[in-house]
């Protein structure tokens, strides 16, 4: 079930909230965790009934292993811990990667092998990573969960089960347990409702409108159609905005649902395109995954490599750098693989690893030369460079295969020619005759296949581009607007939208929320999956 589907919007969510209200008024608060767990299972069952037992097996075995880790000591504790890690990695590998890797492996060995007829269960990457983190945390001495129902609810809560955020037990244990009912307040319900409305609007209205322009270009690239230079650039930049609004919208909705049902979910998204370097980008994009990778992959690998290097009596500065680059590339490789078992995702991850490494080199270079420029211009330039770098990597992320990505990159580089379509020339005003006379823009072998649907005129596309850019860079984000977990105290931008100000339970905001909800409901009828649902 998708958050933007009719079943979720008109049946599931109202029913869950109503039941919570009934349970609350009957003062049967102890039933709330059970109610939420059953709701989560119903939610998950709607995607595919077969996925439910797979999830339950994973939860049960992990729960038993976690109890074994807690109740044993020394060597046995280590054995249980590594068994838990092995189990989770194997579980993920079998259900998500077996078909792809099996095919490659067996073809290398010359053995014929037919793929297993099972699709990767929805959200398996998320609930497996959540449980790996939990195992590492309790092994390191953090609090564990003794109650199997609370543990099951922690892993499978429908607010984040299918597409994150990757919550950690320490982040939500308070609200999962004793304080759950205290948070179930009208204040949180009001905030959650608004946050959900904002997220739904971002996803259903903006991201979906952008996808209508982006999809035909990528589909044409998959068919190896020679794409027009400008159309490709527009599509690639719009895709950058599409994934932003898609994921940002999803994160807002997850947080909003969490608030409405009384569970405090961590922020997962914080205006990543305002980042002025790639490391900052990863601090703002999919924050919970970034933290997971940093804490459970990068840091241990970096530590191990450093220790190994120092053991070889190599210069500590060289060791430190080599360990950093090694840890970065390997972590981002796994990050790419986590998103999908294909070369495009792996290259996407590695390209981010390379960008992070370049950022480190650049920072060291600046430090050596003592260059500490902090002008407004340099900041904007850094943001543009970061945005364009990330946008280029999204091509790999969006392409179904390498051939599609190559086709897009070929067009972006101008190798198909720099033909300016008439529809764009028409709005260029005084530049039009100049461009037409130059001839450079319309060489004989240029691609002229217009793949953008004709119903989108250039004005509409430019308006969409402008609105997206305006929201991304000029407006405060939801974290700034809403005071949740004290977020607005650290706001980077003042919470002002056209003078309306930060969110307050006012009639003005009621009207805004209602308009957002109704517009989003109108757009959400054409069901489209969240991009992050496939991971």
């Amino acid at each position: 079930m998708l958050f933007n589907s009719a079943n979720f919007l008109f049946l599931f969510l109202p029913a869950v909230l109503l039941l919570l209200y009934v349970v609350g008024t009957l003062k049967k608060q102890a039933l709330i965790p059970l109610l939420l767990f059953i709701a989560s299972m119903v939610f998950y069952y709607q995607s595919n009934p077969l996925f439910v037992p797979i999830l339950l097996v994973s939860i049960s075995i992990n729960y038993l292993l976690s109890r074994a880790i807690i109740n044993s000591f020394l060597c046995r504790r280590n054995i249980w811990f590594y068994a838990a890690l092995l189990f989770n990695i194997t579980y993920l590998a079998v259900f998500k990667y077996l078909n792809i890797f099996g095919l490659h492996l067996f073809s290398l060995l010359g053995i014929s092998w037919s793929p297993v007829a099972i699709s990767a269960p929805l959200g398996i990457s998320f609930y497996t990573f959540i449980q790996i983190a939990y195992m590492i945390d309790i092994y390191s001495g953090d609090d564990d969960e003794k109650n199997p129902l609370f543990y099951a609810l922690f892993v499978s809560n429908f607010a984040y089960l299918t597409a994150g955020p990757l919550v950690r037990y320490c982040q939500i244990k308070e609200t999962l347990k004793g304080k759950l009912l205290g948070i179930l307040s009208s204040e949180n319900l009001a905030k959650g409702l608004t946050l959900f409305a904002v997220g739904l609007f971002k996803k259903a209205v903006i991201a979906q409108s952008l996808s209508e322009i982006v999809n035909p270009v990528f589909s044409a690239a998959a068919l190896q159609v020679k794409l027009i230079y400008w159309e490709t650039w527009i599509a690639v930049i719009l895709y950058s905005f599409q994934i932003y609004f898609d994921f940002s919208g999803y994160s807002d909705m997850a947080l909003g649902i969490g608030l409405m049902i009384g569970i405090s979910i961590p922020w997962n998204f914080d205006s990543p395109y305002r980042a002025d370097n790639i490391v900052d980008f990863w601090r703002r994009w999919h924050i919970t995954l970034s933290n997971w990778i940093k804490d459970y992959l990068f840091t241990p690998v970096n530590y191990t490599l450093t220790r190994f290097g120092l053991g070889l009596n190599i210069n500590s500065s060289i060791v430190s750098n080599a360990a950093y680059y090694g840890a970065t590339l390997s972590s981002m490789f796994i990050c790419g693989l986590w998103h999908g078992a294909s070369m495009t995702f792996v290259l996407w991850g590695v390209s981010h690893g390379v960008l992070i490494s370049i950022n480190r080199l650049w920072t060291e270079f600046k430090n050596r030369l003592k260059l500490h420029i902090k002008s407004r211009f340099s900041c904007v330039l850094a943001q543009i460079v970061t945005f364009l770098s990330v946008t280029m990597t999204w091509v790999l992320f969006r392409s179904d295969n390498m051939a599609t990505a190559k086709s897009i990159f070929a067009s972006l580089s101008g190798s198909n020619g720099l033909y300016v379509p008439g529809r764009l020339l028409a709005v260029l005003g005084p530049l039009r005759p100049l461009l037409q006379k130059s001839g450079f823009f319309d060489a004989g072998n240029t691609a002229k296949n217009n793949v953008l649907p004709t119903q989108f005129d250039t004005g509409y596309i430019l308006i969409l581009l402008f609105i997206s850019a305006f929201i991304v860079w000029a407006l405060p984000n939801t974290k700034d607007i809403f005071e949740i977990n004290g977020s607005s105290q650290n706001a980077r931008m003042p919470g002002k939208i056209f003078g309306i100000g930060e969110w307050t339970p006012s009639i003005k905001w009621s009207c805004i929320s209602a308009v957002l909800i109704v517009t989003a409901v109108l757009y959400a009828g054409t069901i489209s999956e969240f991009i992050y649902f496939k991971f």
Binding site: N7, L11, T25, S185, S186, S510, L522
Partner: protein
């Protein structure tokens, strides 16, 4: 922001500002949603509710135009027919469900879908069985349906087809979406403009006379359709210009027969009679003649293995070789046959004798006659080429222009329909 009021539970009706906010937001949303639903329900752009009908206002259901797959998937659940007519636009525009011969298992619904592929036919059949008590399927088969270059039409929606349609789903998608609102406006506009044009009927039929509304130049339309079928433009729907053969399509066909057998559904199969300039000359120009012959052999083999009758109305017979002129008796363009031709098809399939039906129209393909039939078709074609130089040259022109990467000539697209 200081929190002035805090209540422990969601609604204990101690009305603080948060509760006022929630109630105001929900009420406003519900009011707006109700108004939108009421408006779209009255206009009913997809013809699903029949709440209010007025000529010049909403009789012509314009919303269906670009959402045939979507509307038919919902309509099948609403109308719950016992007989469905399946196939491409040839069936959609050509066979009237109100034909008396089809009335054995009422209600009858025209489930024809434009540019459908055989895989889609299978999916839509399964969908129909899930949502309606189907007893008979009349399936018109086209050669292009088996083109493996595009196994599914991009408009095919796997989220919509293949599941039981819930009332919430169709009420939401047909009354409360952006497209429903836009289509309501379009419906009102088109009804004001052409009140006498009733293209989309509640029984799923789209009468060709309204599809080809005010058709003037049949010859030009023939030319245009042949061009569409022969184009090699990768962005267009692949017909004969880009044609790939794959056994999977035959498996889908065989599965359709099995599904009908397993569900005790009476399946009536026929190969549709496109004009011979298309399913003869254009096929030949695309170097697919041999493939088409093999296609017929394979279909016949599968059908005979499953003891199913397969009629073939295509090829070169008195109907398909009708002279291309304005107006035509049996055709609208080279792909779509008229209601009269469909009447002949049904009469032949139901073994009703009619002296007007040419004896050479329609053959049951069997192991015993298929080779002879294909040989005869070849000799009839040779005859046709000798006597129809104009049609042959027009196909050659199209091939030359497509090979030279030229676009469809503007002058030929003008004057096909009368403007008033």
């Amino acid at each position: 922001m200081p929190v002035q009021y805090r209540s422990l539970y969601i609604l204990n009706f101690n009305m603080n500002k948060y509760k006022v906010y929630i109630i105001a937001t929900v009420l406003l949303s519900v009011c707006m949603i109700s108004i939108i639903c009421a408006c779209t329900l009255i206009v009913d752009p997809y013809g699903l509710y029949d709440v209010y009908k007025k000529n010049g206002f909403n009789l012509q259901k314009e919303g269906v135009r670009n959402k045939i797959r979507y509307v038919k998937a919902i309509e099948i659940a609403l109308r719950r027919p016992a007989t469905v007519l399946m196939g491409s636009s040839r069936v959609h525009d050509g066979i009237n469900p109100d034909h008396p011969l089809l009335n054995q298992y009422p209600p009858v619904y025209n489930y024809g879908i434009d540019m459908i592929r055989i895989k889609e036919v299978k999916e839509y059949l399964k969908h129909a069985i899930q949502n309606a008590p189907i007893k008979r399927v009349v399936l018109g088969i086209d050669f292009f349906m088996f083109n493996a270059a595009e196994k599914l039409n991009p408009a095919f929606d796997p989220l919509l087809v293949g599941k039981k349609i819930s009332p919430l789903d169709y009420v939401y998608t047909t009354l409360l979406t952006r497209t429903a609102v836009v289509d309501s406006f379009k419906t009102m506009a088109i009804n004001r403009k052409s009140p006498d044009r009733l293209e989309f009927l509640p029984n799923g039929y789209r009468p060709a006379k309204y599809v080809f509304y005010r058709l003037k130049d049949y010859k030009k339309l023939h030319y245009y359709t042949n061009w569409i079928f022969l184009t090699k433009d990768p962005c267009s729907t692949p017909f004969y210009g880009i044609y790939k053969i794959n056994d999977e399509t035959f498996n889908d066909f065989e599965e359709i027969i099995s599904i009908c057998k397993n569900n005790k559904i009476d399946l009536m199969l026929f190969i549709t009679p496109a004009h011979c300039t298309l399913d003869g000359e254009a096929i030949s120009a695309a170097h697919l003649s041999e493939n088409m012959d093999n296609w017929k052999r394979k279909l016949m083999k599968i059908c005979s293995d499953h003891h199913t009758i397969l009629w073939d109305f295509s090829g070169y017979n008195s109907i398909t070789t009708e002279e291309v002129k304005s107006p035509m008796k049996y055709y609208w363009d080279s792909s779509h046959f008229s209601e009269l031709a469909s009447d002949y098809i049904l009469k032949r399939m139901y073994h009703i004798s009619d002296p007007n039906i040419p004896a050479d129209f329609g053959v049951i393909l069997k192991l015993s006659n298929v080779e002879q039939y294909l040989m005869e078709t070849k000799s009839k074609r040779a005859q046709y080429i000798l006597t129809h130089k104009g049609e042959i040259n027009s196909i050659r022109d199209i091939v030359k222009m497509i090979d030279a990467n030229l676009v469809f000539p503007d002058e030929l697209s003008r004057g096909i329909f009368t403007t008033n």
